[in-house]
């Protein structure tokens, strides 16, 4: 763990109060008045204390064609959450900023109604009066009965913390996009079903009508048509027309997924949980799986008895509109709700905590070589570490250099929250596009663009807001770049788009601002957040020529050769634009910690609030990962840093941190972390981890136990040294609970060897064998009086050379001597740290330092291999020892620790992915000593 996310304001009163009340109360005159808003669950740190809701929540609203904006549901579904907050009012607000054109129906010149495949729009708005700020995600769902077949919805993340919305915009956007994609997929499925039913009805109606007409014809011998017959014929014609229209709609909706796949940004929704595999399989959206042109997508239609219908559907207000649940396939609807709950959980808590967490995660992810050692496996599993090294391969050396040069030349965009300074930024673009159909495998060509200042720069200075009479200011939205989405809602934006450039420039002027709602711009984040590039291409796919080939929708136009991103390309180059966007993303992510050192020095000045401005790395969907093949991954490209540099920089960084503030920060902040775990859901607790996993609790407990251990046992140092140097430590005891507690405590010091679990075995009752020491580095062992117990002890004595033995009953430790200094810092028994999780952080930070040292040591070529062929082995050994002692400042046994970690790093690195590799046991022939209390 790199940072200490629990350096966050304390919000829970209970624990503090407990402490306070234990002491005699102060005289009235000396006491400090309590926080004025200290009602139950009030959050003194909330920016707007006057907000009417207690914690963040998600609101789904619809702009109903019958009743106007209305709230549908909130997540969490708890009346207490929204409190006195007026959901209706807020729904009106958020729905009214959906100026997205939802034009449907018969476009001029087209015979049939066309479906608009409208992109979602993402807006941030604020209501200063209500103290509410919201990320609003607009989307439209299809409904055959609705006007123009569409129903506008929006999902809003509502928080009292403006900063949180602004800073987490990217993450919110990504997460909500997933939810939206899921919902829309389900909706398309439901819509297709509905259409099919309708078609069956129509077909049936036609047959009936046809029969009737025929009968009439037969019956009619007068030679002319009765009005009745003509009416029937007209009706028949109208039914037939309706059939054609509906068929067309069906084809459109079915072709949607394929068409969208052209967009690299499109992440077809893939259900994450394999809850119902069969079900999932049936609506499989994977393009690769489904044959082109085949429309087996929505074929699972339950048997349906068609009924006679009127050709003209009544479009009146008395009909009941479908509910959200009805609009969407059940499976996808529940998935969406799950996703929304996940969002709610993820973004719960203070923004400061979220940011720290994200930053440390992002940093850790980059240390793909070392992070397996001490980090939680669960965390690493979450998003499998990407191949950091591979990323660079595609790029030529000079491309890299150039890019870095550019990056360092370009001033960084500064977003201070209050005011947007003008920000200039250049976007060096590298494109490496693999031709889709590779008949002639023209390999990637990388194109460097000129700096297109005018187009690429985000000129935030001309930001403003428009008064719309409706008391709404929209400062900018993602969609502003779209030419098609000329707003039809109240807030007509002058937001100028430069779709050609792939960047949007937002210029709006604030005129009147006595309004209560301000829409805060989403654009500032664009400066840093790469995914915003996607805003630049026209959002409605409608523009795309609708290709009416066999089954409709599958277009396999070969990818155009990568368009040069020079600002002059036309919209027809959408695809290449998309590519460009993706390329732009790369290397722009989190520039703060990826800048080369030189740049850092130069740029330090404008980085006062560095933490806040770093957009944590967005999650990349599967579709985008596909792109990775062609594009260097962002990590690889970012700044083009050598991994060493990264680490060494981090090394110094963490050194400073640990030097400066360990004790004080732990003291002052450690309370929070423990408070967090006891927090009820109701209060937003800043220290609450993003997703309160059991891991956190475990961490805390382990930290607490470890703290107790180092205080209680004077020989904690050699014990920890044993663990760090890879010597198996056996905790021997009669009492299972006690042994397990000790094992838990010590487990935080055990380096993992890259497997899925830490090599820790909490409780063993049988005699140990050599194989166990290979597998486990920390073992809890039962001491039994039975004959079996004798065997256990015998095995221990036999293998004593591989073991350190901590006897929990007699409080003795038998292990090699330790005279280094690292462990002393790691486990100072006089430490002022009081909280388990704080101590855990402390340990993690020291261990991270050790990892960095081990990394440096492992990856320095000359330390392990001779410079010239004739160089004798001894001089390499000398160099190695000198490095360890002088450069890394290690003494005595600390060297062994680093050597062991280095060995683990090597093994991990050279291990082939598929191959488990034989676990090997390394040991030393060193004498052991017996420590007693």
């Amino acid at each position: 763990m790199i940072s200490a996310p629990d350096v966050v304001a304390f919000t829970r009163e209970e624990e503090l109060e407990d402490d306070l009340y234990r002491e005699p109360p102060l005289p009235e005159e000396y006491s400090v008045p309590l926080f004025p808003f200290s009602g139950q669950g009030a959050n003194p740190w909330a920016k707007v204390a006057g907000s009417k809701f207690t914690r963040d929540f998600i609101l789904i609203s619809e702009f109903s064609e019958q009743v106007g904006p209305q709230p549908l549901l909130t997540i969490p579904d708890d009346a207490k959450v929204s409190g006195t907050f007026d959901l209706n009012y807020f729904s009106l607000r958020i729905m009214s900023v959906d100026y997205q054109a939802s034009f449907v129906g018969h476009p001029p010149g087209s015979a049939y109604p066309k479906l608009n495949f409208v992109e979602d729009s993402k807006v941030v708005l604020g209501d200063s009066k209500e103290g509410a700020f919201a990320y609003v995600h607009h989307l439209t769902l299809y409904d055959l009965e609705a006007r123009g077949f569409v129903r506008p919805f929006c999902m809003a993340y509502i928080s009292a913390d403006e900063h949180k919305i602004m800073q987490q915009f990217q993450e919110l956007s990504t997460e909500f996009s997933k939810a939206s994609e899921c919902l829309k997929t389900g909706n398309r499925k439901a819509f297709a079903n509905e259409l099919e039913k309708k078609l069956k009805d129509l077909d049936y109606t036609r047959t009936v009508l046809h029969n009737e007409t025929e009968q009439q014809k037969k019956a009619n011998d007068k030679g002319y048509y009765t009005t009745q017959a003509i009416e029937k014929a007209n009706e028949l014609a109208s039914v037939e027309k309706s059939i054609i229209e509906h068929q067309d709609l069906l084809r459109q909706i079915r072709s949607y997924p394929y068409r969208k796949l052209k967009d690299s940004e499109f992440h077809p929704y893939e259900p994450e949980c394999a809850l119902d595999q069969a079900d999932v399989g049936s609506h499989d959206h994977d393009p690769t799986a489904s044959e082109p042109g085949e429309t087996h997508l929505y074929t699972h239609v339950p048997s349906y008895t068609p009924k006679l219908i009127k050709a003209k559907s009544a479009k009146c207000f008395d009909k009941k509109l479908k509910t959200l649940e009805e609009l969407c396939d059940v499976y996808f609807f529940t998935q969406t709700l799950d996703q929304l709950h996940h969002i709610e959980r993820t973004f719960r808590g203070d923004v400061c905590y979220l940011l720290t967490e994200q930053i440390s995660r992002a940093l850790l992810k980059q240390q793909s070589v070392t992070n397996f050692l001490f980090e939680d496996v669960s965390f690493l599993d979450e998003k499998p570490p990407e191949k950091q090294y591979r990323g660079c391969q595609g790029l030529g050396q000079d491309a890299m250099d150039e890019k870095c040069l550019e990056e360092s030349l370009a001033p960084k965009v500064v977003i201070s929250l209050g005011s947007y300074k003008s920000s200039v930024e250049c976007v060096p673009i590298k494109m490496e596009q693999e031709m889709e159909d590779s008949e002639e495998p023209k390999m990637s060509e990388s194109v460097m663009s000129e700096q297109q200042e005018n187009l690429d720069y985000l000129d935030a200075d001309i930001k403003g807001s428009i008064s719309s009479g409706e008391s709404i200011e929209v400062l900018g939205t993602e969609k502003s770049g779209s030419g098609l989405t000329k707003s039809e809602s109240q807030a007509s934006l002058p937001a100028m788009a430069s779709p050609q450039a792939g960047r949007s420039k937002v210029g709006s002027r604030r005129t009147v601002s006595e309004d209560s709602i301000e829409v805060l711009s989403t654009c500032p984040s664009e400066a840093l957040i790469p995914e915003d590039f996607k805003a630049s291409y026209p959002s409605a796919i409608n523009e795309e020529p609708y290709v009416d080939d066999d089954q409709g929708g599958l277009r396999f136009t070969p990818r155009a050769s990568p368009g040069v991103h020079d600002g002059q390309d036309d919209i027809s180059k959408q695809e290449s634009l998309v590519q460009v966007d993706a390329a732009c993303c790369i290397g722009k992510e989190s520039p703060n910690f990826l800048e080369p050192l030189a740049e850092q020095l130069g740029q330090k000045a404008c980085e006062e609030d560095g933490v806040v401005r770093i957009p944590p790395q967005p999650y990349r969907g599967p579709a985008e990962q596909g792109l990775r093949g062609g594009f260097p991954s962002h990590q690889g490209l970012s700044g083009g840093l050598l991994p060493y540099e990264l680490d060494s920089r981090h090394l110094t960084g963490s050194r400073e941190v640990s030097k400066s503030s360990l004790d004080e920060c732990s003291d002052s902040t450690s309370h929070i972390s423990s408070a967090a775990s006891t927090c009820s859901d109701r209060t937003p607790s800043p220290a609450q981890p993003a997703c309160a996993q059991p891991g956190d609790r475990h961490r805390k407990r382990a930290g607490q136990n470890a703290l107790r251990f180092i205080r209680q046992y004077p020989f904690a140092h050699p014990a920890i040294y044993s663990l760090l140097s890879g010597r198996t430590l056996v905790v021997l005891g009669e009492d299972e609970a006690m042994v397990k507690r000790l094992v838990t405590a010590l487990s935080i010091f055990v380096p993992s060897s890259g497997g899925y679990t830490k090599p820790v075995k909490h409780w063993v009752t049988s005699a140990l064998h050599l194989v166990d020491f290979q597998k486990w580095k920390l073992i809890g062992l039962q001491r039994a009086v039975s004959p079996g117990g004798v065997n256990v002890l015998h095995a221990l004595s036999r293998y004593s050379r591989y073991l350190s033995i901590l006897d929990a009953d007699s409080k003795t430790l038998r292990c090699p001597l330790y005279k280094g200094s690292v462990v002393a810092r790691l486990a100072d028994h006089r430490t002022q740290i009081k909280r388990g999780s704080t101590y855990y952080m402390h340990v993690q930070s020291i261990l991270t330092q050790l990892c960095s040292k081990a990394f440096l040591f492992t990856f320095c070529h000359h330390l392990h291999l001779p410079i010239s062929e004739r160089e004798p082995e001894e001089s390499v050994v000398n160099r190695r020892m000198n490095f360890l002692k002088l450069q890394l400042g290690l003494a005595n046994e600390d060297i062994k620790i680093v050597q062991y970690l280095a060995e683990l790093l090597k093994l991990h690195y050279i291990q082939e992915p598929g191959q488990g590799g034989n676990p090997l046991l390394r040991f030393d022939y060193v004498p052991s000593f017996l420590y007693k209390i």
Binding site: L770, L796, S797, P927, S928
Partner: protein, 441 residues
């Protein structure tokens, strides 16, 4: 009280600081045999033969074919007409079959199952391109597993050991007797051989337990009651013999030893030799017999807690022994200084509380005598890993040491330093492969 010499935890000269446990066998592993520079085969009572990579510990092949325990194994590198050297191994099993395996493909080449009794030993006469199987009779086979000739039924007990001698002769240990056979080209057929009994040597008082060829001129036999006879390879005469030779070394301690010594404890379990000396594993002890001086020059009377099963001489004056007590020990043959040496320091005093069996027994068996040898064996390291008797080991030089044991395991002992630098090498190779070594700024 055990008088076994012990060494402390500090073993500077012991290079083996890394180990790999090779799992696969389901019963006692009795045989290890080297195939080439980096491969070896293991076999044991489960009837399965495994081929291993000695560097990585990777399991290369698993050879199934025998239904009973393996009784003998021998490597056989045959050079075909096409000059392609194929590595074969021949295995004999208690199911009375012999199978030839191809080590590269891991496939069974051929199987012979016409034996009257279990084949107890196999010898390959590389020079003649034939191999011999010894059971109740002695058979000569060619590479294609054609039976070329065989002797008449010799004994029910069967041939326990075979050794190749010059002039197309072999010596076979049959009970107490040593029988010399000669292979002679037969008149009919170009590849026909005849086998003739040439001589029977009946000098041993007890069953011959080990038989080893020292050089072209000498071979040595050892028997159950501790007789060691040096033979001339050419005329099969006794050159020297050492009967109860431990007595001659320490005549003063003889009485008590005699009391305690059961035949088993004096049995010559294994013999090995270099040009100068024969090294004998006798009971729990190790003896070094100098061929020139014709006497025991150094010994370690209780080298292990129980019987020594296998010993081998390393190029660097070191000797490795393994024993039923589950340990492997590394000894060094040193020249003794003028002054009687102090007992070897045995490391740190063991302060740890509970029951170590072999406590501080460093007052070991090196009582200075006037007629003691000028050399002595010093313990330089021990390898503890197996939980049961170590049956055999295979020294792979730089690659390390493979030991097999009754605990079903094979352990590869490696030089940690060397492995570490090898891994570094691999690491940088992989880095270069991935293109990460270039300086990317």
């Amino acid at each position: 009280k055990s008088s076994v010499q012990t060494i402390g935890e500090e073993q500077i000269q012991n290079p083996y600081t890394e180990l790999l446990v090779l799992k696969g066998h389901q019963d006692i592993v009795r045989f290890l045999v080297q195939i080439d520079d980096f491969r070896f085969a293991s076999a044991g009572d489960d009837g399965i033969i495994f081929l291993w990579n000695a560097q990585t510990g990777e399991k290369l092949h698993e050879l199934h074919g025998h239904t009973h325990k393996i009784t003998a194994i021998a490597p056989f590198s045959s050079s075909d007409v096409a000059e392609e050297k194929t590595n074969l191994i021949i295995t004999a099993s208690a199911d009375r079959t012999v199978i030839v395996w191809d080590c590269t493909s891991g496939r069974q080449v051929q199987k012979v199952s016409c034996f009257q009794s279990t084949v107890k030993c196999l010898t390959v006469l590389q020079r003649l391109n034939v191999w011999l199987s010894g059971g109740s009779d002695l058979c000569v086979w060619n590479q294609k597993l054609d039976l070329l000739c065989k002797t008449s039924h010799l004994t029910d007990a069967g041939i326990s050991a075979l050794v190749e001698l010059p002039k197309n002769c072999v010596a076979a240990a049959v009970g107490k007797e040593l029988i010399i056979f000669r292979l002679s080209a037969s008149n009919n057929g170009y590849e026909g051989w005849n086998i003739l009994e040439v001589k029977r040597l009946v000098d041993h008082q007890d069953n011959i337990s080990s038989l080893v060829s020292v050089n072209d001129l000498t071979f040595v036999t050892g028997s159950h009651i501790g007789e060691l006879i040096v033979w001339d390879s050419l005329d099969w005469t006794k050159q020297a013999s050492e009967c109860n030779f431990w007595d001659s070394v320490h005549p003063d301690v003889q009485p008590e030893i005699k009391l305690s010594q059961s035949p088993h404890e004096t049995s010559v379990q294994h013999l090995t030799s270099d040009e100068e000396c024969v090294f004998a594993a006798v009971g729990k002890g190790i003896y070094v017999y100098n061929l020139q001086m014709k006497r025991v020059i150094a010994c370690q009377r209780t080298a292990h807690d129980s019987s020594v099963l296998h010993i081998e001489k390393l190029p660097n004056r070191q000797l490795i022994s393994c024993s039923e007590d589950g340990s492997v020990r590394i000894w060094e043959l040193r020249e003794k200084q003028q002054l009687p040496a102090e007992p070897v320091p045995t490391g740190f005093f063991n302060m740890w509380g509970f029951g170590r069996t072999n406590k501080q027994a460093n007052q070991a068996a090196k009582k200075m005598q006037e007629n003691t040898p000028v050399y002595f064996l010093e313990l330089v390291g021990d390898l503890i890993g197996h939980s049961s008797a170590v049956q055999m080991f295979l020294y792979f030089g730089e690659l390390g040491l493979a030991t097999c044991s009754a605990d079903h395991l094979i352990i590869l002992w490696k030089d940690g330093e060397r492995e570490s630098s090898l891994r570094s090498l691999t690491l940088f190779k992989k880095l270069a492969q991935n293109g990460d070594l270039q300086l990317k700024l």
